[in-house]
């Protein structure tokens, strides 16, 4: 049963590998960015699932007197930061992609390499 208790890690690994596969295989630069986003999301999922406590609730202090189990707030904070950083990096990457498209007229990696090699 210990094997089944860690299914959150399986999902995380599967997502991460899908992202990695997209980044390696697809020649289109926009597609690579999307693959990178999936990869990042898998890491977010990993952190958040590590912070989850069974029967826990969101880490907002309740005032009804009773004791509550809260999930770990620390991964949430880290991932909040990471999401914003992820967006700014993908914005920068997309700006670079637009410039590359202006210079080479394509977004395919192979065609860009050919254009580089051509005199």
């Amino acid at each position: 049963m210990a094997f089944l208790g860690t299914y959150n890690y399986w999902i995380f690994i599967t997502l991460m590998m899908i992202g990695l596969y997209i980044v390696i295989v697809r020649g289109n630069l926009v597609k690579k960015i999307i693959g990178l986003n999936i990869f990042q999301s898998s890491v977010f999922l990993f952190f958040i699932s590590v912070g989850k406590v069974s029967d826990g609730t969101a880490p907002i202090i309740l005032h009804d007197g009773g004791e509550a189990i809260y999930s770990n707030p620390l991964p949430h904070v880290l991932i909040l930061t990471a999401i914003v950083v992820a967006v700014s990096t993908s914005a920068l990457a997309l700006a670079l992609i637009v410039r590359i498209h202006e210079s080479y007229g394509t977004l395919q990696e192979e065609l860009i390499h050919e254009a580089e090699r051509a005199p």
Partner: protein
């Protein structure tokens, strides 16, 4: 995961952008289920919203169809599966999902949960940790956002571009 698989197969980039937005929305739902409501907000607004807008506007400025057909790449597949194997081996001795006695749950988190409201006066622990205990992290995050903003501005401003093009033509002329 199904959506992610669909993203691999699709060749129309607009469809891919919409699928990735949908993927972010599903991630936000998952975060709510995992008690991370603040993260779910951020993911829904930023991942499903802003990233899609950025993606679509970038596609509007470039081409939106992927020309290359999907060819299977055995080396990449083998590499991916090998990495997955290593990761599966790595996670095999991590604590079980939802385990309250896991090391991650016992370090500083209990102190935050007990003292955060008393020390900062904010009932939402995530906010108090973000803005108070780890304010410097957030400051660093804002620095990253500022840097990215400056980079995007430099890359996309028409004035800078025109000047550069003019310089190139001047150099060609001389």
């Amino acid at each position: 995961m199904v959506v992610a698989f669909a993203i691999i197969r699709r060749r129309s980039l607009i469809a891919t952008a919409m699928l990735s937005s949908f993927f972010s929305l599903l991630m936000a739902g998952t975060f709510v289920l995992l008690d991370a409501v603040d993260v779910a907000f951020a993911e829904a607004a930023v991942g499903a919203g802003i990233t899609t807008v950025l993606m679509l506007s970038a596609l509007a400025l470039t081409s939106s169809v992927e020309v290359q057909p999907l060819k299977s790449n055995w080396l990449a597949l083998v590499l991916t599966i090998a990495t997955a194997g290593v990761l599966f081996y790595g996670v095999s001795d991590l604590p079980a999902f939802g385990d309250a006695a896991a090391p991650a749950q016992r370090h500083v988190a209990p102190r935050y949960l007990e003292m955060a409201e008393f020390e900062t006066g904010i009932p939402n622990v995530v906010t108090s940790v973000l803005a108070s205990y780890r304010g410097f992290d957030t400051f660093g995050e804002l620095t990253v956002v500022l840097t990215a903003g400056i980079g995007v501005m430099l890359l996309m401003t028409p004035g800078v571009r025109r000047r550069r093009n003019q310089k190139e033509t001047d150099e060609d002329a001389t």
